[in-house]
């Protein structure tokens, strides 16, 4: 075994261990802030696994998007809405936990079975390495153009939605019915939601 492959093996084991333990921590820890920070760790170890697979662009994108944007926003949300209130006790918690545990266990067994029965082509195709950035760009602007553009439209829609929801404070009442603009009005099924600006 050469030095390079030994290093790779050690990195793989360490990354996988942090990934699995971190993911378990995200789900099982009672403190939501710890869960959010651990989620960042999980994203980072996934990026590390991508690096081991010679996909450095995907790894960097993973860090930028998931750690730098998604996880930071989750943390923001948790820290801005930090209410110290005890959640109401849910009836039948033990049964619920047992059921969800069984579902997760079943999924795990299924995945293990798939992993062992699939005839994997080993070794896989030659990694593209540093050429990957160019190849990804070519694919995004040829055969994956439609999904790429659709994703951008989806993001735009969610952004506009978020702005409408976030700027509720300047909107006072529905233009047509004159109902007060509160959570109930926004969640009601009705189109379009015409809101009038409150006098300032």
């Amino acid at each position: 075994m050469t030095i390079a492959s030994t290093t790779q093996l050690i990195c793989f084991v360490a990354l996988s261990a942090t990934l699995v333990l971190g993911a378990l921590g995200v789900v099982l820890l009672p403190n939501i802030v710890y869960s959010a920070f651990l989620l960042g760790g999980v994203f980072l170890s996934v990026a590390g696994l991508y690096l081991l697979l010679n996909a450095s662009f995907v790894a960097a994108a993973q860090v930028l998007v998931y750690v730098g944007a998604v996880n930071v926003l989750i943390l923001f949300a948790i820290m801005l809405v930090n209410k110290k209130e005890n959640l109401a006790a849910i009836p039948g918690l033990g049964v619920r936990r047992l059921l969800s545990g069984a579902v997760c266990g079943g999924l795990f067994v299924l995945l293990i079975r798939v992993a062992f029965t699939t005839p994997w082509a080993l070794p896989g195709p030659e990694p593209v390495g540093e050429e990957a950035t160019i190849r990804i760009g070519e694919h995004l602007f040829s055969d994956y153009l439609l999904p790429f553009e659709l994703a951008s439209v989806l993001l735009l829609m969610s952004m506009i939605g978020a702005i409408v929801l976030a700027r509720r404070d300047v909107l006072s009442s529905d233009v047509i019915t004159g109902e007060a603009a509160d959570q109930g009005l926004i969640e009601k099924e009705r189109t379009p939601l015409l809101l009038e600006k409150s006098p300032r």
Partner: protein, 376 residues
């Protein structure tokens, strides 16, 4: 790794050849080589911080018509070392109601991405730790980890000023990351590569005239503003605005943990200055191409001595440009007032972001129209 065949000082190849000449296997020689550039760059980064602290003290003194540190060594050059030793010997306090684990992890998470980013800073054709293909993109993605460390230390301090400071820091670095990335994207578009070495090589054609600053003046200004905001330097040091937030997320920190924040912010400043010089000021390039100079002097460019000289000139030029920018940053810090947080976010989202987008579009248009000048 990219296979780089361009001429220039290649210490790695020479070192490994020498070791293999002593009878070591290529893998073992590579293992012995690997830690050397990393340690060297780490030392360079820390020494850079010491120089920076001294410059900051001296320049601020000059701006305010004081003398500044004077007794520790000639002109006070030993003052930063005294500061560092003081921080090492201070008591390390973790507040009783703070979250000990996150409190300790926060400063570490702030410092590590900054140091890792030095991986891609080139001082010459082969004088960098690793010429990774994603180069500058690696720096952008690594610097997006930093807000998590800031949020972590702000939250773990269990102090409202710390939490507000952490939230501000994270908000600030998220908003300024976007125009920063767009400015970098315009440069990347012109050089057809993300690698820092390729970005510099694309600027070496005609010395000072081919530097990116002439083709990307707007991008340069955007990048510099955003880099200052990312480093939390005045006029953008909102997260630690004394009058409002005591010291922001650093309020509860003392001793070595505070030193980590301090070190992180100064290493980040030097790193940003180095990257501005790489992206816009021709990196290691001399204002007149060294190839021309060697030609006029009648020397072959690949002679060992000439290579040694050009390599040294490259390092000196990179550091010189970076420290000129650091000087500018320090001067800005001591001459400009601080902006308000809403002004800061307005500037980022409503001014810099549209300008950066327009800059990107114009660069793309110019690249199509004049492929000769804009790297077709």
């Amino acid at each position: 790794m990219l296979t780089n065949t361009a001429p220039g000082l290649d210490l790695e190849a020479s070192f490994e050849q020498a070791l293999q000449g002593l009878g070591l296997s290529p893998a073992a020689a590579h293992m012995l080589w690997l830690p050397l550039p990393m340690v060297l760059v780490l030392v360079a980064a820390v020494v850079g911080v010491l120089v920076n602290v001294w410059l900051e003290r001296k320049i601020s003194a000059a701006v305010q018509q004081r003398i500044g540190p004077e007794y520790a060594g000639a002109l006070g050059v030993l003052q930063p070392i005294a500061d560092g030793i003081k921080l090492v010997f201070k008591e390390d306090i973790i507040p009783a109601k703070a979250d000990g684990l996150l409190f300790t992890l926060g400063p570490v998470l702030v410092l590590i991405p900054v140091i890792l980013s030095w991986l891609v800073v080139p001082f010459g054709q082969h004088l960098l730790i690793s010429n990774v293909g994603i180069g500058i993109f690696l720096w952008i993605s690594l610097s997006s980890i930093q807000p998590i460390g800031l949020l972590m230390s702000g939250y773990a301090s269990n102090n409202k000023y710390s939490l507000l400071g952490g939230l501000r820091a994270a908000a600030q670095s998220i908003s300024y990351e976007i125009p920063l990335a767009l400015a970098v994207l315009a440069v990347v578009m012109m050089s057809n590569s993300l690698s820092t070495v390729d970005i510099v090589n694309q600027q070496t054609g005609a010395g000072i005239l081919s530097w990116n600053i002439w083709r990307q003046p707007v991008g340069f200004v955007i990048f510099w503003i955003c880099a200052l905001a990312e480093c939390e330097r005045l006029p953008f040091d909102l997260p630690e605005a004394e009058e409002e937030l005591v010291a922001g997320y650093q309020t509860e920190y003392s001793g070595m943990k505070f030193a980590l924040f301090y070190l992180g912010s100064y290493i980040n400043l030097v790193l940003s200055a180095l990257l501005v010089s790489v992206l816009y000021l021709g990196g290691w390039g001399f204002p007149i191409p060294v190839e021309w100079l060697a030609g006029w002097l009648g020397q072959p460019i690949d002679a060992p001595l000439v290579q040694l000289i050009t390599g040294s000139v490259g390092i000196v030029m990179t550091v010189l440009k970076a420290y000129l920018l650091v000087f500018l940053a320090i001067l800005l810090r001591w001459t400009t007032p601080r902006v308000r947080i809403d002004q800061l976010l307005d500037l980022g989202w409503k001014f810099l972001l549209p300008i950066a987008l327009v800059n990107l579009l114009i660069t793309a248009a110019l690249k199509l129209a004049f492929p000769m000048a804009f790297g077709g």
